[in-house]
């Protein structure tokens, strides 16, 4: 056994004993956990979900179960949140699974794959389909138990300094775009760049990059991207919905009393609903402000969407051929999506369609 593994195993054993004893003696032991978020405090939408979870768990347990929140970088860098949970450095984190596609591409199925599910469909797949069941089986390899913890809704396609009229306009384009979607941009001849949120503005201003995607109107406006790139494209086909998760170290989760597991589950359920509601309430206000400041809204052309879909299917097929977990969960998701959209076009889409067209009348 390697030294690192040994230390980890010993640490976990000790924690399990410490918790197990009061769990028998009393069902409401005093527990203090640390949660590392992958987001800065300034993003009240994303960072706020962890605060919501912590608040409701504390209330439900009469402050006996306390979860202290740390912003990205305070304990570990934002993009190492999952590593910190895996090794037991912290008990849990709040992050986007797809930040960790470097470990295994299957991680992107926690958050979003290009041309995947929309927000409600994703929740349906997670909770009522096989989504979380399959992902939590996969997560065991990394000591992770996942609870759905928020969703941004469909994101925007990002900020471009020049108009993008046809697929060939992606040739040589230096585009700040994360993880999995970057592979698709690469297939189109683009040069994907990884840049932390706080550094995007400068890179775009200096021309180090030609385009950048972040989230949607509310979060993007905070970064000021509209001041350095005029064209705002939609939709973000790589994030029809982007789900966040609370990842809990599996040993810590198993050692919790049942009542505390129930509190975490319910509080995560509330945080999930709350984040989407918050984004949905704030995005229209921000979009209006952006339009008033001269932003030019552009849809990706049909030819571009088609080229991206083709490239996306190729990238996913390649990943599925090389990785059984990815293949299994990706197929579950696409089967679910294809059945969903048959229904979606009937009720939801036709209602939204009429409402969009007649909005000005009522």
């Amino acid at each position: 056994m390697k030294r690192r593994q040994f230390l980890q195993a010993a640490g976990m054993g000790a924690a399990a004993t410490a918790i197990a004893k009061p769990a028998i003696a009393q069902s409401a032991p005093t527990i203090k956990w640390r949660l590392t978020s992958s987001f800065p405090k300034s993003l009240e939408t994303l960072y706020g979900a962890a605060e919501t979870l912590s608040k409701y768990v504390a209330e439900a347990s009469d402050n006996k179960f306390q979860i202290q929140i740390f912003a990205g970088g305070e304990i570990v860098p934002a993009l190492q949140a999952v590593d910190a949970v895996q090794s037991g450095t912290v008990e849990m984190c709040h992050t986007a699974g797809y930040y960790f596609v470097g470990k295994d591409p299957t991680f992107c199925l926690y958050t979003a794959v290009p041309f995947g599910l929309n927000t409600r469909q994703q929740n349906a797949w997670f909770y009522d389909g096989d989504g979380m069941k399959l992902l939590n089986e996969f997560g065991q390899k990394f000591n992770l138990y996942g609870l759905v913890g928020g969703n941004t809704g469909t994101q925007m396609g990002g900020w471009f300094r020049k108009e993008i009229r046809e697929p060939s306009d992606f040739q040589g384009l230096k585009f700040r775009i994360g993880g999995w979607a970057g592979k698709i941009i690469e297939k189109l001849g683009g040069v994907p760049q990884q840049i932390a949120g706080g550094d995007i503005y400068q890179a775009l201003e200096k021309g180090t990059i030609d385009a950048a995607e972040w989230v949607g109107p509310h979060d993007d406006e905070k970064l000021g991207l509209h001041r350095v790139a005029k064209y705002y494209y939609y939709p973000g086909w790589w994030e029809g919905a982007a789900a966040l998760h609370f990842f809990i170290n599996t040993a810590k989760w198993s050692a919790l009393p049942k009542s505390y597991q129930a509190m975490l589950t319910a509080a995560a359920g509330l945080a999930n609903v709350e984040m989407t509601a918050r984004y949905d309430a704030r995005n229209p206000v921000a979009l209006r402000k952006l339009l008033n400041s001269g932003v030019e809204l552009r849809p990706f052309t049909e030819a571009i969407m088609d080229a991206c879909l083709k490239a996306s299917n190729e990238v996913n097929a390649e990943a599925a051929a090389a990785n059984a977990d990815f293949k299994n969960i990706y197929e579950s998701m696409t089967n679910f999506r294809n059945a969903e959209y048959i229904w979606w076009q009937v009720g939801e889409f036709s209602y939204d369609n009429f409402m969009i067209r007649s909005r000005r009348r009522g």
Partner: protein, 362 residues
């Protein structure tokens, strides 16, 4: 003081005393509540929501706070659930606010109004658009506190024995349609009828009514409506997203410890997300089965949609003239909705649009 009032007051006093003591001594007193649902056990979506909620509360409190769920008719009829809570017969109910438009048409805004918000927008309005405060100001007058707890998503337009090709086809049509939407339908010449879900099949089969709307494919299939009316219309423009509520007797709510209040909230919102996910996952396979059995789907023709919108707008104006609470709720909903659809058409709608068109290629 009337005898009934006296009894209620005395009863409430007793409960207060009984609760107050353990509330000081311990934050987790043993508590048994009754919840009356407006739904039959056969609907695992709507009735199931109350069960999911009660189970989450029991688990988080180590079974100290037990909520016994009763189906429609066991304690009171389904449409008297709110009255039972108002009088303190039971501590809480799970129901749709719009069943009580007879008391005040403003109740409709807690659930859905014609050409109103879709399911996500309804959550956004409730939690971040002032909806909760507006609605609870009304609910307070009826001695209850309301917490959102579930949503069906956009409903279907219902089952028709004959095709509806133009607005005139609605004239004289006997249709089972509830509450406020019935008033709007009446403007189009429809004769609205109120039936409990379990009686719909017989009424439609016998020809007592010509048409009936209930919810969507999954629930409608269980009522067997496809066997007695071939035409299935969409969208249900009176229910772009129908929200359910937990209503809690105000005194019962105020006497709860902060811990239990918090647990009721998280369990309600977890259930809110659960129910929509359950509908979104269950409707597509149900629709497929209905179509395989010969159901004929029809969109309401544009002229019918336009006439319905016109009638709805007239009705909003008329009721607003005499009811200030209704006026305030409508103006709040309208402003919120118009902002929402300005944004919705950009990312969500264009994403769904592309996915609907390309689904077979994915």
């Amino acid at each position: 003081m009337k005898r009934r009032q006296f009894l209620t007051a005395a009863g409430a006093g007793l409960t207060a005393t009984a609760l107050a003591k353990p509330a000081i001594a311990q934050s987790s007193p043993v508590l048994k509540w009754r919840l009356t649902s407006s739904y039959p056990k056969s609907l695992d979506t709507l009735y199931g929501g109350a069960e999911v909620f009660a189970k989450a509360v029991a688990e988080a409190t180590d079974n100290k706070f037990q909520i016994r769920v009763s189906a429609s008719g066991e304690i009171v009829p389904g449409l008297q659930a709110l009255d039972a809570v108002q009088n303190g017969n039971v501590e809480m109910c799970h129901t749709a606010s719009y069943y009580y438009v007879g008391k005040d048409p403003t109740f409709a805004f807690g659930t859905a109004v014609p050409f109103g918000l879709n399911a996500r927008m309804q959550n956004a309005w409730m939690f971040f658009g002032g909806g909760m405060d507006l609605m609870n100001a009304l609910y307070k007058e009826y001695n209850v506190y309301g917490i959102p707890c579930g949503n069906t998503g956009c409903q279907m337009g219902g089952w028709f024995r004959k095709e509806i090709k133009e607005p005139a086809d609605l004239n004289g049509l006997k249709m089972r349609i509830g509450g406020y939407a019935g008033l709007v339908m009446a403007k189009l010449g429809v004769v609205p009828q109120q039936f409990a879900g379990s009686d719909l099949y017989a009424a439609l089969e016998k020809g007592t009514i010509d048409a009936a709307e209930w919810a969507g494919p999954y629930d409608d299939e269980r009522l067997g409506l496809s066997k007695v009316a071939p035409y299935y219309y969409f969208p249900g423009w009176w229910e772009g997203g129908a929200m359910l509520h937990n209503f809690i007797n105000l005194k019962s709510w105020e006497q709860l410890t902060p811990t239990y209040k918090s647990i009721l909230r998280t369990a309600s919102e977890m259930t809110n997300g659960w129910m929509l996910a359950k509908y979104d996952a269950s409707n597509p396979p149900a629709l497929k089965r209905l179509l395989a059995q010969g159901t004929q789907m029809r969109p309401f023709p544009p002229a019918v949609m336009d006439a319905s919108l016109k009638a709805a707008l007239e009705m909003y104006d008329e009721v607003s003239k005499t009811n200030p609470a209704f006026k305030a709720a409508w103006e709040s909903t309208l402003a919120f909705r118009n902002d929402q659809y300005l944004w919705w058409q950009v990312a969500e709608y264009s994403y769904d649009n592309y996915l609907i068109r390309t689904r077979p290629r994915g």
